[in-house]
C-alpha cells in the first residue's frame, strides 16, 4: 500500500517510529502527500539553503507562502509555482488551477494579488498535440486570470522538442499589502477557531502532489485526469475579497492557503509553525458529495480554499462578512496546545499525528554525476553563414516561435485591469504602479533551458543575468528574485548534478548582482517515457523604479538618433537561437558570463535612464544583435542603418549571444554624457549607426523593409499555433 502511495520502505518504517504504531489508512495518506517530493523538497532542500536570501529590501525570505520585499513602505509579495504535469494531462484546467494556487500563496501573506506572469515551455508547434497543449494553456490562463481580475502582464513562451512530453507551465504572482498588515501561516492561540473558507471539498485532485507532481509522466497520462483539479475562478475572486476584507477588519490571526496536499498540509503546517496543535472535525467540512472517506477529505486538492485562524469572539463577525460577500465558510476546528494534528469524524478520532512530523519529512543527499555526453555536446562546432545568406537567416530567426511576437497570446490576457500597468506585455519587462506608493516596480521572468542543458551552472547564472538586464532596461534597480526550478527525475544522478550546478550558478549570480532569493519552487520529475526536459530554472525578478523615472520604450523613436551597442561582442554561438533555428543544433558552450561586467553595464543603463539620456533601450538576449535591431525597428515603426566592424564575421556580429549587452538609441547631444557614464563604469559603447528610413540596413549586405520585418515577427506566431484560423 505505502509503495503505491509513493513512500519508500524506509519512509514507511520512519512513520511507524514517529507514531509508535502502524499508521492507519488516513494517516498513511497524509504522510504520503506531505512527504512527497513536491511538498517536502526532500531532494532539493539541502541545496536550496545555499542560495543568498538576505538583502536590504527583503522583509520575508524563503519558507513562507511567498517572499516579501519592501518598496517604499509597501510590502510586495512574490512567488512562482509550477503546474507542469496537470497542464500536460488537462491543459486548460491545469493552467487555470496553477494560477489559482499561486494567487492563494500570495493571498496567504495578506497581500492583494496585482499581477501575474506566465513563463511557458512547449514542444515544437509543428506537432498537433503541442499546438493543442499551448492553445489550451493560454486559454486556461486567459479564462482564470481574467475572471479573478488580476492582470497578466508578462512571461515568456518558448519552444523546444524536449518539452513535447512535458510542457512547463509556471506562474508568477505579485501582490501588495500595507507593511503592518502582512499575515503569516501561523495557528497561534490555543482556543482560537479554525475556519475553512471557499469551495466545498470534493474528490478532485486527490493525491495530486504525489501521483502527478512527484512522478514522471508515462503513456496513459489521460488516466490521471481525475488527479487534476478543476478551477472555479468566480469562487477564487470571492475568496480573495473575503480574505482581504477579514484581514482588513482585523479578524484574522493567521492565514494559510490550501494547495498541494490540501487540508492536511494547511492544518499541520500552520499548527507546526506556531508550535501549537489543532483538532478538526471532518463532519464540519462542507463536501460536494456525501461519502468521502477521511483520507479523501484530508488530501483532496479541491481549489479555491483558504484556512483562517480567528479568535472565538470574532467568529460571528467573520462568518457574517463571508456570508455578505457570498463566500462559503465553515468552522472546522480549533487550535490546541497538544502539538498534534487530531482529526475527528464526529466523535471518532480518525487520525492523530504530531503536526510537525508531517512537514519534517526525510531529506536526501542524492547522488550526482556529471553526464558523460556533455563533453561531446560542448565540443561540437556550429557552422557559419555566407554574407548572402544573412538576410534570409534574420527573417527565419525572427519568425521562429520562440522569438516571434507573442501578441496572439497576450491579447487574450487582461493586462490592464487594476490600472497599474505602465509598460505592457511585449517589452523587456513590465512596469507597474505600486498601489499605496509613488514608486513603481519592473517585473520579468526569464530562463534559458538550452544554456542549462549545455552548462547548468552557467545557464542558471544567465537566467539571473537576463532578468537583471530586462529589469535594468526600464531604469529599475533589481531588488530580489523568486525562482521555479524545473528538472527531470532526482533519482537520476545526471539530473541531480544538473540541479546542484544550477543552484550553485544561480547563487553565485545572485550574490554578484546583489539580488537575494526570496523563495521559490522546485518541480522535479519533468520527464515522460524517460525523456527528460532540459534543466530549466526560471527566474522571476522584481526591480524598483525610482520616482519620476520614465521607462524608455524598447523601440527606436526619432529619425537621426544615434544607435549604440553597450557591451563588447565576441563570437559566442553555443546554445544560440541561431544554432537551434538554422541548424537544429543545441550544442557548444553557452556564452561566458562576467558578472562584474554585467553589473557595470546594468548600472550604466539605469543611470542613463534616470538622467533621461536614452530614447530607447532594449537588452540583447536570444537571437543577439539581429533580433534586437529588428525588434527595435518593428516596435518603433521606424528603420535603422548600421555598420558593423570587421573584427568578427557578419553572422557572428549579428547572431552571437554574448551577454551583458544593450541596444540603445540616443540623441546626438547626449552622447557625451553617456560616454562619461561608460568611462566611469569601465563599460564600452560602440556607435553602430542611426535611426531612420523604412528598412533595416546592415552595411551593404542587408536591407529588409519594415513591412517584411513586421510580417516575420508579428504574423508568424498566430499561424504557427493556430494554423486553422491564422
Amino acid at each position: 500500500m505505502h509503495r503505491r502511495l509513493g513512500l519508500t520502505d524506509e519512509e514507511f518504517e520512519r512513520i511507524g517510529e514517529i507514531l509508535g504504531r502502524a499508521p492507519n489508512r488516513a494517516e498513511l495518506a497524509m504522510y504520503s502527500v506531505m512527504w512527497s517530493e513536491h511538498c517536502s523538497y526532500k531532494s532539493s532542500r539541502m541545496h536550496l539553503k545555499t542560495l543568498p536570501s538576505e538583502g536590504p529590501h527583503v522583509l520575508i525570505g524563503p519558507g513562507e507562502g511567498a517572499g516579501v520585499i519592501e518598496v517604499d513602505g509597501v510590502a510586495v509579495a512574490m512567488r512562482i509555482e509550477s503546474h507542469n504535469h496537470p497542464s500536460f494531462v488537462e491543459p486548460i484546467q491545469g493552467a487555470a488551477t496553477g494560477i489559482g494556487g499561486v494567487v492563494r500563496d500570495v493571498l496567504s501573506m495578506g497581500a492583494r494579488p496585482i499581477a501575474l506572469l506566465d513563463p511557458l515551455r512547449f514542444g515544437g508547434l509543428s506537432d498537433a498535440k503541442n499546438r493543442f497543449l499551448a492553445r489550451g494553456v493560454i486559454s486556461g490562463i486567459s479564462s482564470y486570470g481574467n475572471c479573478i481580475g488580476v492582470p497578466t502582464v508578462g512571461g515568456e513562451i518558448k519552444f523546444e522538442d524536449c518539452y513535447s512530453g512535458n510542457p512547463l507551465v509556471n506562474v508568477m504572482c505579485i501582490g501588495v499589502a500595507p507593511k503592518d498588515r502582512l499575515m503569516r501561516a501561523r495557528a497561534h492561540g490555543p482556543g482560537n477557531k479554525v475556519l475553512l473558507l471557499g469551495s466545498k471539498t470534493g474528490r478532485d485532485g486527490i493525491g495530486g502532489v504525489s501521483v502527478l507532481a512527484s512522478a514522471t509522466l508515462a503513456a496513459g497520462a489521460a488516466d490521471k485526469r481525475p488527479s487534476v483539479q478543476v478551477g472555479d475562478p468566480f469562487t477564487e475572486k470571492l475568496v480573495i475579497e473575503a480574505t482581504l476584507s477579514l484581514i482588513e477588519k482585523g479578524l484574522v490571526v493567521g492565514v494559510q492557503d490550501l494547495g498541494g496536499a490540501g487540508l492536511c498540509c494547511a492544518t499541520s503546517e500552520s499548527a507546526a509553525s506556531a508550535g501549537t496543535g489543532m483538532r478538526i472535525d471532518l463532519d464540519r467540512v462542507p463536501l460536494r458529495e456525501p461519502g468521502l472517506e477521511p483520507f479523501e477529505i484530508l488530501t483532496s486538492e479541491s481549489q479555491e480554499r483558504m484556512l483562517l485562524v480567528v479568535k472565538p469572539e470574532d467568529v460571528e463577525e467573520a462568518l457574517g462578512e463571508c456570508l455578505r460577500l457570498g463566500a462559503g465558510v465553515a468552522v472546522i476546528g480549533e487550535v490546541t496546545t497538544t502539538g498534534r494534528l487530531q482529526v475527528f469524524q464526529g466523535k471518532e478520532l480518525v487520525a492523530d499525528v504530531p503536526a510537525a512530523s508531517l512537514g519534517d519529512g526525510p531529506i536526501y543527499d542524492r547522488p550526482a554525476k556529471r553526464p558523460d555526453w556533455l563533453d561531446g555536446l560542448q565540443a561540437e562546432e556550429i557552422p557559419g553563414l555566407k554574407d548572402a545568406e544573412i538576410t534570409a537567416a534574420i527573417l527565419t530567426i525572427l519568425a521562429s516561435p520562440s522569438i516571434a511576437s507573442k501578441r496572439w497570446a497576450f491579447e487574450q490576457y487582461d493586462h490592464q485591469v487594476m490600472l497599474n500597468t505602465v509598460v505592457k506585455p511585449g517589452a523587456d519587462a513590465a512596469v507597474l504602479s505600486v498601489p499605496g506608493s509613488k514608486l513603481r516596480i519592473a517585473v520579468t521572468t526569464d530562463g534559458n533551458g538550452r544554456y542549462c542543458h549545455l552548462d547548468p551552472y552557467l545557464g542558471a547564472a544567465h537566467a539571473v543575468a537576463e532578468a537583471y538586464r530586462n529589469v535594468s532596461s526600464t531604469g529599475a534597480e533589481p531588488a530580489a528574485i523568486t525562482n521555479c526550478l524545473n528538472f527531470g527525475s532526482p533519482l537520476r544522478p545526471e539530473v541531480m548534478w544538473q540541479f546542484k550546478e544550477a543552484v550553485r550558478g544561480m547563487g553565485d549570480a545572485c550574490r554578484a548582482l546583489n539580488v537575494p532569493v526570496t523563495g521559490g519552487n522546485v518541480s522535479f520529475y519533468n520527464e515522460s517515457d524517460s525523456t527528460g526536459i532540459f534543466p530549466t530554472p526560471i527566474v522571476g525578478m522584481v526591480g524598483v523604479l525610482g520616482e519620476g523615472i520614465d521607462p524608455p520604450p524598447m523601440g527606436f523613436r526619432n529619425e537621426g538618433d544615434v544607435i549604440m551597442l553597450i557591451g563588447a561582442t565576441d563570437e559566442e554561438l553555443g546554445g544560440s537561437e541561431y544554432a537551434r533555428t538554422l541548424f537544429a543544433k543545441v550544442v557548444g558552450r553557452p556564452p561566458a558570463l562576467d558578472l562584474e561586467r554585467e553589473a557595470a553595464a546594468g548600472g550604466v543603463i539605469r543611470k542613463a535612464v534616470a538622467e533621461s539620456l536614452l530614447r530607447s533601450v532594449h537588452d540583447l538576449s536570444e537571437g543577439g544583435l539581429a533580433v534586437a535591431l529588428a525588434e527595435a525597428c518593428v516596435e518603433g515603426a521606424i528603420g535603422a542603418k548600421v555598420d558593423l566592424p570587421e573584427n568578427l564575421s557578419l553572422f557572428a556580429w549579428l547572431f552571437s549571444e554574448t551577454s551583458s549587452r544593450y541596444l540603445v538609441s540616443i540623441g546626438e547631444g547626449s552622447l557625451g554624457q553617456l560616454q562619461v557614464l561608460l568611462d566611469a563604469a569601465g563599460s564600452v559603447g560602440l556607435t553602430l549607426g542611426g535611426v531612420g528610413g523604412s528598412s533595416l540596413e546592415i552595411g551593404s549586405i542587408v536591407k529588409i523593409s519594415l513591412a517584411d520585418l513586421k510580417d516575420a515577427h508579428e504574423g508568424s506566431f498566430a499561424s504557427a499555433i493556430d494554423p486553422g484560423v491564422g
Binding site: T235, R324, T421
Partner: protein
C-alpha cells in the same frame, strides 16, 4: 454622488472609481444587495465577471436585488452606464435591446480599439462630436453585439448607436471590428438616451500615466449630465 454597482465577480469597480476621481467626481461602491439607490445621481455597472459569467454573461446579475433600483434610476432619466460586463447585464435586464455573443474569432481580446462617436446627443457623448475617433481598450470574450433586424432598424432610425468600431481614420470597416458585432456596434443607447451600454472600457483610457485618455469624453459627458439629487 455616482453609484458604482458591485456584483460578486465584478472586477473593474476600483478602476472606474479611480477614473471618476481623476475627473473630480465622487463615487461610492454599492453592493448588489442594496435596494435603494435614490440618493445617487448616476449609476455605473462596471466590467468584470459577475457571477463568473455562469449561465450566460450578465444573466444572473440581471436578477440581483439592486437591479430594480437601477431600472428606476433609468426611468427617472438619470445616467446609467454599463461597461463591458455591465453592458451585458443591462441587455439581460432589458434596459437595452440586443445581446452580446462570443467574439467571432472565439478568443478573448484585450487590446486598444478605435471607436467612432456616432451621436453627441446623449448623456455620455455630449462632449464628443459625431465622427470623432476615440482610442479605448476592449477586454472581453463576449462582445459581439447582436439584435433582431427590426431592432437594428429602430436603433439606426432613432440615432441610438452611440459608438462603432472603426479604423484610425474613422472608417467603419470589417478589419476594424474586433468581435464581429452587428454593424460594428460598440455602444448602444436606450430610448431615453440616458442609458448607455458599451464594450470598450473608458476608465482604462482616462489616466495619462497609462496612455491615451480618450475615455474621458464618455466619463466627463456623464459627469456633466449628473442631476443633483
Amino acid at each position: 454622488m455616482i453609484a458604482v454597482v458591485v456584483f460578486p465577480g465584478s472586477n473593474c469597480e476600483q478602476d472606474v472609481a479611480h477614473a471618476l476621481g481623476l475627473l473630480g467626481a465622487e463615487s461610492q461602491f454599492v453592493w448588489h444587495l442594496e435596494t435603494d439607490l435614490s440618493a445617487f445621481s448616476a449609476a455605473v455597472l462596471p466590467g468584470g465577471f459577475a457571477y463568473g459569467d455562469y449561465l450566460r454573461t450578465g444573466a444572473i446579475a440581471a436578477s440581483s436585488p439592486v437591479m430594480a433600483s437601477v431600472k428606476q434610476m433609468a426611468n427617472e432619466g438619470k445616467p446609467v452606464i454599463g461597461i463591458c460586463n455591465g453592458f451585458q447585464i443591462l441587455c439581460e435586464a432589458g434596459l437595452l435591446p440586443g445581446a452580446l455573443r462570443r467574439n467571432s474569432g472565439l478568443r478573448f481580446r484585450c487590446m486598444p480599439v478605435n471607436v467612432r462617436v456616432e451621436t453627441s446627443n446623449s448623456a455620455f457623448t455630449s462632449l464628443g462630436v459625431a465622427g470623432q475617433v476615440l482610442e479605448i481598450p476592449i477586454n472581453h470574450f463576449e462582445g459581439n453585439y447582436y439584435c433582431s433586424p427590426n431592432t437594428l432598424v429602430e436603433l439606426e432610425a432613432n440615432d441610438r448607436v452611440a459608438l462603432r468600431y472603426c479604423d484610425a481614420q474613422g472608417k467603419v470597416t470589417q478589419e476594424a471590428n474586433p468581435n464581429g458585432a452587428l454593424g460594428n456596434i460598440a455602444g448602444v443607447l436606450s430610448d431615453g438616451r440616458n442609458v448607455l451600454g458599451m464594450m470598450p472600457h473608458p476608465e482604462r483610457a482616462a489616466d495619462p500615466e497609462l496612455g491615451p485618455i480618450d475615455g474621458r469624453v464618455i466619463l466627463e459627458s456623464m459627469i456633466r449630465a449628473l442631476v443633483p439629487v
